[in-house]
């Protein structure tokens, strides 16, 4: 796992003490809010509906047991005993007081964490596949490249005031678990003639104009990663629409100029700046790579696992849904659901964080991951330890067997916390999860991605949900619009908007009708909701959503 250099350490400490002085000056009145706001945003501090909100980066989703424990400590000491894990591998604290934030940042710095560039028009936290370094289907661990990108982008003088925020995601597998096609730059490690390099995708994004990214380079040699990304961001910085906030993201730059023109400009800039990268970055990378070596995986028999799998149906259900194939056959990747039915998706209490840290330390080489789907992962677990882990998780309310199922919902904070929201997201997610649990249908329904945002900014990824829900304000009343057929993976697609929205009372029954319709419509249990939707189109699903208008049409 990456460990700060002296430079990183000094940089982060300096930022904390600068921010401490800025907060003092804001509180004593010598800075106005207009002067202070950009400074607090540079340090991840927002002002939301009921309180401040501090967003802390978890680079490429990788975190140590010690860091997780510190997140729990911060939640207890300066917040309300919990934290909210987000789709961009951050944790958000919803209740800090302004005067405490410098202390929180100091506590983060103590475990090599920070909130720098988690807000503002700059390159944000670099995200990655949450199974990186462990997944059986992976070509190569993408995290050393993500770390290299993080070091390059942090405090990069040219890129602190971009036209808009800028997000990069990296994956090392063909199966896209990092949503790379919805990022400003998406990078996928690919192989060509025995060499590995990057497929480079640009211009993906959600928000008010959702777009799937386009390939700008089929194959980029690895040693060209930084100069090429620098060229992309440079071209965007030059061409990006600063005149209109809603057209400022690179997706619009690509759309308006065309991918071919963008490619020409990027390649030209790349040729120009390539010689400046003399290889220091590659030496750095070699050092970084050494820190991401696979931990020494234990040998041993898996008898305990096999026995539990045979004997205990609850364990079996959990194993079938929450485990993923590890590179090593006697190991597994464990996804811990922080989506217990009826709970707030993505929230973990400080006790839960500490338990997960303990389990990581005892059974998983002290390492955890945060997924973009708002769950926590133990990447390297010997199968023999799974029954003990499951028992501990179950006792802490973390044993829900629902990964990838209908109740594993991504929900943004919505109107319960977010100042930009037009409707609530969390209670809708809670009700849907509670309902599928009452009906006991989610295992039968199988893989289903429900994603909810409380406004058009689409933080909850609703455009790329199999079922997307967008909360809107219709004449002062919460209203929920449904999109179907979205996909965040390597077969990415933006969902199709169905008819009129639903009231808060109507939306859960509507989602239930969609699931039941799918059970009727599918060819076989193996055919997923998304496949059925792709085969049949939206008509039968629309009919399920709007039964009255169907009846009217038929009459």
């Amino acid at each position: 796992m990456y460990s700060y250099t002296d430079f990183d350490e000094a940089f982060v400490r300096t930022r904390v003490s600068q921010f401490r002085a800025q907060v003092e000056r804001r509180i004593d009145g010598s800075l106005t809010e207009d002067e202070f706001k950009p400074l607090r945003l540079m340090n991840g501090l927002y002002l939301q509906l009921h309180a401040y909100m501090l967003r802390v980066a978890i680079p490429y989703g990788t975190i140590s047991a010690r860091q997780m424990r510190q997140l729990a400590f911060i939640a207890d000491k300066w917040d309300k005993g919990y934290g909210h894990f987000t789709t961009r591998q951050n944790i958000q604290y919803n209740w800090p007081a302004l005067k405490d934030v410098p202390d929180m940042l100091e506590a983060l710095a103590d475990v090599q964490m920070h909130a720098i560039q988690t807000s503002g028009n700059t390159i944000r936290n670099v995200t990655s596949d949450h199974f990186a370094g462990a997944a059986a289907d992976e070509l190569e661990d993408p995290r050393p490249y993500a770390e290299l990108l993080r070091q390059w982008s942090t405090d990069h003088p040219e890129f602190q005031f971009l036209p808009r925020k800028f997000k990069i995601a990296v994956t090392g597998a063909e199966a896209d678990r990092a949503v790379i096609r919805s990022h400003d730059i998406g990078l996928q490690i690919v192989e060509q003639n025995g060499e590995t390099g990057f497929k480079v995708i640009i211009g993906g994004g959600l928000g008010r104009t959702p777009m799937i990214g386009k390939v700008v380079r089929e194959f980029l040699p690895k040693e060209d990663l930084l100069p090429y990304c620098e060229a992309i961001v440079h071209v965007y910085n030059t061409l990006g629409r600063r005149d209109n906030k809603y057209k400022a993201r690179i997706k619009i730059t690509v759309h308006e100029n065309g991918i071919d023109t963008m490619r020409d400009l990027i390649e030209a800039r790349f040729t120009e700046i390539r010689p400046e990268f003399t290889g220091v970055d590659q030496e750095l990378l070699a050092g970084i790579k050494a820190q991401f070596a696979t931990p020494p995986l234990r040998e041993g028999d898996t008898a305990a696992y096999d026995a539990a799998y045979q004997m205990d149906p609850i364990f079996r259900a959990w194993a079938d849904t929450n485990l993923t194939a590890h590179r090593k056959a006697d190991h597994a990747i464990v996804t811990i659901s922080i989506k217990a039915h009826g709970k707030t998706p993505g929230d973990a209490t400080s006790d839960q964080m500490r338990l997960m840290a303990d389990l990581a330390e005892e059974y998983a080489h002290g390492e955890l991951r945060i997924s973009h789907e708002q769950n926590v992962i133990l990447p390297h677990v010997h199968k023999g330890d799974l029954p003990a882990i499951h028992a501990a998780l179950k006792a802490a309310g973390l044993g829900t067997a629902n990964i990838g199922l209908a109740s594993d919902i991504i929900a943004c904070p919505g109107m319960d916390y977010c100042a930009l929201a037009t409707a609530r997201s969390i209670p809708i997610a809670q009700e849907i999860a509670t309902r599928v649990d009452e009906l006991k249908i989610e295992h039968e329904v199988g893989e289903l991605k429900i994603k909810i945002s409380g406004c058009i900014n689409a933080c909850g990824h609703h455009h790329v949900g199999h079922i997307g829900i967008l909360g809107l304000d219709r004449a002062g009343v919460e209203n929920y619009q449904v999109t179907l057929g979205g996909d965040h993976t390597e077969t990415a697609a933006v969902g199709t908007r169905m008819g009129p929205g639903f009231s808060a009372d109507e939306i859960v029954p509507a989602i239930e009708r969609l699931m039941l319709a799918y059970l009727d419509l599918r060819d076989a249990p193996e055919e997923t909701f998304l496949q059925t939707f792709r085969r049949l189109g939206d008509a039968p699903f629309k009919a399920a959503l709007y039964p009255e208008s169907e009846a009217r049409n038929a009459a």
Binding site: R26, I27, D28, G29, T32, E33, L47, Q48, L49, H50, A51, Y52, K80, N94, W95, P96, A97, L98, K99, T344, M415, D416, Y417, A421, R424, I426, P427, Q430, D473, G476, V477, E478
Partner: protein, 99 residues
Amino acid sequence: MPKPFTPKVVTANALIEGDVIYLTNNGEWSRRHEDARLFTDEAAANAALAAAELQASEIVGAYLADATSGARGPEPTHFREAFRATGPSNYAHGKQVDL
């Protein structure tokens, strides 16, 4: 035609805690919506907002929010302001704990 003025309260967030506050009849800040002064006159509302905005070391982001008079005092008319007046719906956190 300009929209007719509807009654408003002056609301903001407290600088240190960030929580929602309302301007009262005697020009102080209260955390309770029902303590707010309800402005039925547009000029008076704007003047109060302008005065509030000068209190930079106490408050953040003052604005006028729609409200109506209720049994115990002003009540929010829009659900956003209703959430601001109580707290989030997933936990009993925020104002609903103390009010």
